[in-house]
Symmetry: D2
Subunit: 338 residues, 4 copies
């Protein structure tokens, strides 16, 4: 079996997920080395995943001639730079989202990728979730006719630490960005205009940090489809991830995923356990599938399923959404330039 | 048992519903007379509902000293006038929605009602539906904490005739008006601003008549709650009537109602029958309950549960929604004046 | 509109249900008189249902020449006798189930009915429930192919008073009898053999009265279909009424009915309200439909949908079920004779 | 990390599942060698799972001093013999179900295991499924009070080849055996008596082979709980695996598992995709969890969660069930002796 030699950059939470999947779930992957300035974290992941080498400086990964592809899981503000460096080193690239908060930096990185002719996949893992794939399939197959509405509900179980909120780029670039990608993916068309409203309802500290925690975004697609995204930083019942597409011939919607399919009838109510509570439980399989898709794309020399432009446009949407909120008016994506 | 003598004005589709409920489902009601210029229609309803008198001219109802209350089911453009006349005649009034499309006429009618001191209930029957009542109850009881979002999906199985579209006042006053009322009812707060987008996706003839058939309205409530209403004139799977309220302590949402609770597992799919297809099937019980509430309010001299102001505000919202669509900007309700 | 003059015998709980339906829900029915030794109960029903006459002795109903049909809602031990008398008086008969606990008395009554040529319908209302009708329809239409299994779950919210248990004929004749009828109705075939096991798990007093409160009955149909009935006198979550039929081409099953379709997501669980709790709430519409079917059968001179034999066979099944339990062996229905 | 050296005996369908899980999903397992007379099959599994050694004769596995535990996935008629040999070789043992169809052979094997003091776990993987664990947890925690009924529905998507039917030991030992185990697991009590009925409805060839394809088994537990098992060899809609336990304080039931949580509303019906169709899709995770439990039990020197007696009793139940069918009478388990 042909195997792809992979270097992993970053041994934090998501780096560990990718390392485990590369080591144990994807037979065609051969993780060779993992890099992190936190040597202890990197060593722990290497041990549990049987990765032979650990380095502190990711440049050693880029300089390693055996490494054919890199998986970038470092902090967001380093993504664009490392993408550029990896491209110049001739490595294929899987990069966690977002590439950057700055369109200018994204564009520079994408230029490098194009120049080097390496493959780039951006980590919008939710596209690989079985529920959302089924919705996309229904749209593609015409099971619901022409789409008229798309609704995305995406609520986190609890807000991130304020320290993170301060550097995350704001809710639109940190949280809604997944939903912007989802909207484009499900409908298969571009959004031309957004209108945003929002509030601070969960934690006043989030407001003090200049961000929102409860937002509603209206999307107008090029084909006339209308969409909404509803985000909250805190759903007490856990991770709420649902979509609905309504069209001329029907509708399709998804429910949340649950740890079990048991229903209890008690003296007070009929009930079931809470849905899967966290993205690592909810999207476990999607992380495997996206990485398998990346490895396959490289090994078979095919386009990656989430390209650089797919990484760029949701950032444009996030910037437009914020502008719309600030000015309380609909904003066209064409207004946002690097 | 004390019974209230009622006169019914209008023997069309909704008049027939109210007549049957008054005759067969509400023991405290005593329908005395039904009026319609279409004497044949009125006579047919009177026969099946055992109503003793039929008249062509509704003034005879108003002049009938035995009649204590009237139920106005005539065409929309006569509502405001008849409300005023009935008030002057000292009759308590149940009036189908909307009172009028003109705020000026509504205000004149409400002045007459106030002056006469009679009771007025406007026919927003959906408030009396078991599903939506349960949602309202959850909000009132604090079961979901403070509301942050309300989403209303309201899709008709098929568009009305073009002849109706031309005189209905447009989708916002004819269809969304129910959802504007629902939004106010569920949250128990006023909306301050709306933003609307819309399209013609179902039938180009609707566009030629100057109307829309696919609309999305964003609501901003005085307490910071954000809302959406999604309307389509045509859902091929039938009448789609769902709401969701999300709050600081949880969420509540309703499913559609079905003719039966049977699930079939076949070789191709797991399926169930389509939901109840039409408002007369879906909302059957709510029409009984709203009328029972009106009869009770009169007999027990209590306020009606849907007052004149409840009839007026959704019209303001409808006018604001249209203005927002025309100008593609958020519109404050305060901008709309009689 | 042609209306059938009806006399009602018995003004207890179920008598009141039938009286209200005859008065308010079935336009073709004209309830003329109600009889009960408890004159106060009869008068109260007559008042609320606008029934003109009240009598203490049901014979007056039978002697009333205007009365065309009687609805027998008296205590079970009087059913067979009154059926016979009503038949001799030439009245069409709707009789609550069971006709009697004694096959001999049932047979005598059925002989009288046959001799008089009057129509008889037995009150197995559940056949008229929308859920079970849909299951029957699926079987008839071949939607699930040839039936292989039928499972009936039928659990009461709480046991009847011990005083009732002592005279009810036992759980098989008082409670399971509905499910025996349901099994025959759904499959459309006769049962040849039953095997029963049971226990006293809910209340030891029920055991002391010689009865069971938790029973499981296996049914073997003439066509090879196998069935189970699961009965409990007490389900703390309310009235549990579900069936499933599995066949060569699929399966169909029903869920319980609920007061609303709202689902609440809270911090501890996802939940909904308890199902409709009592047969009068759960089967409200089936009582209307069964009576409408009876009135139609008489007015249109067609066979009633639940005939005398349909009333007799479930009693045979109940006697066989008890014998099986007593002897801990499968018992063929052919072993049970009048 | 301490790892357990494991030898795998049998490289067929289930052997491959266990090999993959040991190789990729269970960090504490170190699969050293795989044995199969079909060398090609063994080599293929070894390659994909990176297992270093392949042998034709399983005795080489038993003689390998490095091997600490064996996983027996050979044909059923070799299980008991290999269990005995492995025990004498001092290896801990995971053995696929059933240990044998003969109680005598099972007892001999269990004597060897006891004498050697090695650990034995029998492959009743369904106990480790999230749905059934949740039901068991509800019973243990008292969430539903004292159990009164347990119902198990277990239907295969399609019958096995007739060649398999002829040697499988019959439906009770080949298919129902899982459900016998499930019944004991869920209730945590022993069954004292069974009553069986059955038929050939799916394929007459199965009948010619002396077996049944449609069976219903009644279980009477020592604590008075009553149970049913419903097995069919063919459910056209796929793998149907549901249970319900009803008790004094409530009920818990499980639904099937689905490939996605999408619901489609079309012009004809509301539908969703078929459930997971095959035991390898449906029970994927349970195979991982059971093997993890075995590895943990050995490494931590704790009892295995499914012991030899747990492997023996379902065979007794299967023999009793067949006897009950043959004689059409309830059969006590005490009647079945080695």
């Amino acid at each position: 079996m042909k195997r792809l030699n992979v270097g992993i950059i970053g041994a934090g939470r998501i780096g560990k997920v990718h390392a485990e999947n590369l080591a144990f779930r994807i037979p065609q992957a051969n993780p060779l080395v993992i890099a992190d300035v936190n040597q202890q974290a990197a060593a722990a992941v290497a041990d549990s995943c049987r990765i032979p080498a650990v380095v502190a400086d990711y440049h050693e990964v880029l300089e390693n001639a055996e490494v054919e592809a890199v998986v970038i899981c470092s902090p967001t503000d380093t993504h664009a730079r490392i993408v550029g460096e990896a491209a110049r080193a001739g490595k294929h690239i899987f990069c966690e989202k977002p590439i950057d908060h700055s369109l200018e930096k994204i564009d520079q990185a994408l230029v490098e990728v194009a120049r080097a002719g390496v493959k780039l996949q951006v980590g919008f893992n939710r596209r690989f979730d079985a529920n959302f794939r089924r919705v996309r399939q229904a749209v593609v197959n015409g099971e619901i006719g022409e789409p008229h509405f798309v609704h995305i509900i995406s609520r986190d179980p609890s807000p991130p630490p304020i320290s993170y909120v301060k550097v995350s780029g704001g809710i639109f670039l940190d949280m809604t960005i997944h939903d912007f990608d989802m909207a484009r993916y499900l409908i298969g068309k571009e959004v031309e205009e957004v209108y945003t409203c929002g509030a601070v309802r969960v934690d006043p500290e989030i407001g003090k940090a200049g961000d929102l925690d409860t937002v509603l975004i209206v999307l107008k697609f090029e084909d006339g489809t209308l969409g909404t995204i509803d985000n909250s930083r805190k759903a007490v019942y856990g991770y709420d991830q649902r979509v609905e597409v309504f069209g001329s011939q029907g509708a399709i919607r998804t429910e949340n995923n649950y740890p079990n399919a048991a229903v209890i009838s008690g003296a007070e109510r009929i009930h079931r356990d809470l849905p899967l509570n966290f993205f690592m439980d909810r999207y476990t399989e999607s992380f495997v599938t996206e990485m398998q898709a990346f490895i396959n794309a490289v090994l078979e020399d095919k386009p990656t399923p989430v390209c650089g432009e797919d990484g760029r446009i949701p950032v444009v949407m996030g910037l437009a959404a914020r502008k719309s909120y600030d000015q309380n008016r609909p904003v066209r994506l064409a207004e946002i330039t690097a």
